[in-house]
């Protein structure tokens, strides 16, 4: 707006003055012509006419110029003495009257122009306001939410496009209806209670059930806000509704799933308890008869060894051996089940120290012929005694299965350390195993070698796997028959 006026102002001013000059000249010409034709006293109105026009169309300043010019022309041509700017006393009132008229015209037109400008400005503002309101109203139409306004009798007075689309009622169908009749609203509490709340606090929020035009029921999250008039009286209610039917259904599903999960967890807890009871009675009841077998066999041995022949003594020795083996099995099995049940006490553990400790406690039956290769090992986060048990099992396996080698080699190294996880392996050059049985490696009582060749109960690797799993890690192995075996495991390197 400003730039438009800056450009136009000087030009229109010049044009205005030119217009004044021309108009005054033409009027003067016309007045002189009239006088020539003996039409007396026409100069007065003829010279006032351009002033009116100029004041009206070119503004007050050119009009003032016009007044000056025409008063001079009037003085020179029409007031005695003629053709002179001197003015006779008798002609002065006439001349002043002319100037007064001219000035009045200018003043009137200026006042009018100002009033008109004010009016135009007001109109412009009104137009802007209308544009803005229209934009806002169309914005309400853009939203997917259902928005409507109703008066204090719940009669709908505004209905946006979201409401049209979701409820299926057109604006024409909705306007003038009571909202709760149209939508068959089901309120969570009585409508009176809600309205009392709105009157008190000015707003309400809650879930409602509505029925769409096609009869389907939907759940909406409804927000009401009360609009008051300038005197503070309740005037209208703005209601904004969001369709949460899908969300409600998902919530219901999640709740059902959660309930099922809780049920399963309870069942699992019961099963766990049973298992614990089982392990407990295994510990107590299974060992007792075993002890009796061993005890009475020993007593028998003491009592009857003289009457027994070689065969009899062999049978007795076999009974004792078998009972002892069963004792070991029970102890291993109990240790294994204890790993699943015991609480872990997690701290930072230096694997390097742990390996050194394990090696120093190993029985040195190999006669020092093993070629150990211990790499730089990381600090991990876990239960020290459990990790130690895992290492004891892995290392003693490596020793066991490589003892047939003339030069056993065992390596313990860290191959990877990233994302708070370290991968460590224990590798031997022993008899190895066939990879097609790899899936059986970590099962309880699973053995890939005969007891005659390599002793063992088949619980060691199951124990290791359980320990690693309890630490959130993984364990796997690579091997080939007669080509050594490598056991990898991953463990966390910090608490998170």
């Amino acid at each position: 707006m400003g730039s438009k006026w800056q450009l136009k102002a000087p030009l229109s001013a010049i044009l205005g003055y030119a217009f004044a000059l021309i108009a005054v000249s033409l009027a003067l010409g016309a007045a002189l012509l009239a006088e020539h034709c003996n039409l007396r006293h026409l100069e007065f109105p003829l010279l006032l006419l351009p002033i009116i026009l100029i004041a009206w169309y070119a503004g007050p300043r050119p009009a003032i110029v016009a007044v000056v010019l025409s008063s001079l022309a009037l003085n020179y041509f029409f007031e005695p003495p003629f053709h002179s700017f001197y003015i006779a006393g008798s002609a002065l009132p006439h001349w002043f009257a002319f100037i007064l008229f001219g000035s009045l015209i200018i003043w009137f037109s200026a006042v009018r122009r100002r009033a008109e400008q004010k009016l135009r400005k007001a109109r412009d503002q009104l137009e802007l306001e209308v544009v803005k309101r229209t934009q806002q109203a169309s914005l309400l139409n853009l939203t997917y939410d259902m928005i409507f306004v109703r008066d204090m009798d719940s009669v709908i007075t505004y209905w946006n496009r979201g409401a049209e689309q979701l409820y299926g009622f057109t604006q024409q169908a909705a306007l003038g209806k009571r909202s709760y009749d149209l939508l068959h609203t089901v309120f969570p509490v009585s409508r009176n209670a809600i309205e009392a709340e709105v009157m008190r606090s000015g707003r309400w929020e809650g879930e409602l059930m509505h029925t769409k035009a096609d009869g389907t029921k939907i759940v909406v999250l409804s927000r009401w806000s009360l609009q008051r008039d300038e005197r503070g009286r309740p005037a209208a209610m703005l209601e904004i509704n969001t369709d949460i039917t899908g969300r409600k259904q998902r919530e219901d599903q999640i709740r059902v799933l959660n309930e099922e999960l809780a049920k399963r967890a309870d069942e699992l807890a019961v099963i766990n308890k049973e298992l614990e009871a089982f392990a407990y009675s295994t510990s107590h009841d299974l060992r007792a008869p075993l002890r009796h077998m061993v005890g009475y066999t020993e007593l028998l041995h003491k009592h009857a060894s003289r009457t027994l022949d070689e065969k009899g003594r062999h049978y007795m020795a076999t009974i004792l051996e078998a009972a002892k083996k069963m004792g070991t099995l029970i102890d291993d099995l109990l240790a294994f089940s204890r790993i699943g049940r015991a609480e872990t006490r997690e701290t930072n553990v230096s694997l390097e120290h742990l390996v050194t400790e394990v090696l120093s406690e190993m029985p040195t039956s190999d006669g020092g012929k093993i070629d150990w290769k211990i790499g730089k090992l990381p600090e991990v986060y876990g239960d020290r005694s459990m990790l130690k048990l895992a290492l004891v099992n892995l290392i003693s396996n490596a020793i066991k299965f490589s003892r047939t080698r003339s030069r056993p080699e065992i390596a313990i190294e860290c191959v990877e350390k990233k994302n708070n996880r370290a991968v460590v392996f224990v590798k031997d050059n022993g008899v190895g195993f066939d990879m097609k049985y790899a899936h059986k490696l970590f099962g309880v009582f699973q053995r890939l070698h005969s007891t005659e060749a390599f002793e063992g109960t088949g619980i060691g690797l199951a124990t290791v796997q359980r320990i690693i799993h309890r630490h959130g890690g993984k364990i796997w192995a690579e091997s080939a028959v007669d080509n050594g075996a490598t056991f990898y495991f991953s463990v966390p390197t910090n608490g998170s």
């Binding site: 510990s283 107590h284 009841d285 007792a288 002890r291 020993e298 004792g327």
Partner: protein, 150 residues
């Protein structure tokens, strides 16, 4: 007439009783043992009730207590004994098959004097019983009011 019993053996399994007695017999301690076959009987003996009503009013020098017992189990007996002003001085040795940590922790919390897991190996078992019997019934000086050595 009840024999003077320095050792109260609380054990429900007759085979365990026999093996224990055999082990104790090697040190002539067998005739110093009185046997309770469940927790109730043990408490009857200690409180001189029921069939033990007329026994001499002296505490045993040691009680060897199994944990898994009919009627009243070992931990309950232990709790009862250790919360009784007159009985709590009796040294109690838990002698059990259970290697479970919670049993051990519970026993120590109740104030047990020793916790021994019965070894499966017979020789170890015999040795353990012998050492227990010798230590508590012979070497150890029992608290006043206990049955003394003859």
């Amino acid at each position: 007439m009840e024999p003077l019993a320095r050792i109260l053996l609380v054990e429900d399994d007759p085979r365990d009783v026999e093996l224990t007695m055999t082990a104790l017999g090697d040190h002539n301690l067998a005739n110093e043992v009185v046997i309770a076959h469940d927790g109730e009987e043990a408490l009857d003996y200690l409180y001189r009730r029921g069939k033990f009503e007329f026994r001499i009013n002296q505490n045993p020098a040691v009680m060897l207590l199994d944990l898994k017992l009919p009627k009243i189990d070992g931990l309950e007996v232990l709790e009862k004994v250790k919360s009784d002003e007159k009985l709590k001085v009796i040294p109690v040795v838990v002698l059990t098959s259970s290697r479970e940590e919670r049993d051990m922790v519970a026993s120590y919390k109740l104030g047990v004097n020793a916790y021994v897991v019965k070894p499966v190996d017979f020789h170890e078992f015999v040795n353990a019983i012998k050492e227990l019997g010798v230590f508590w019934a012979i070497v150890n000086e029992p608290p006043p009011g206990s049955v003394r050595k003859r």
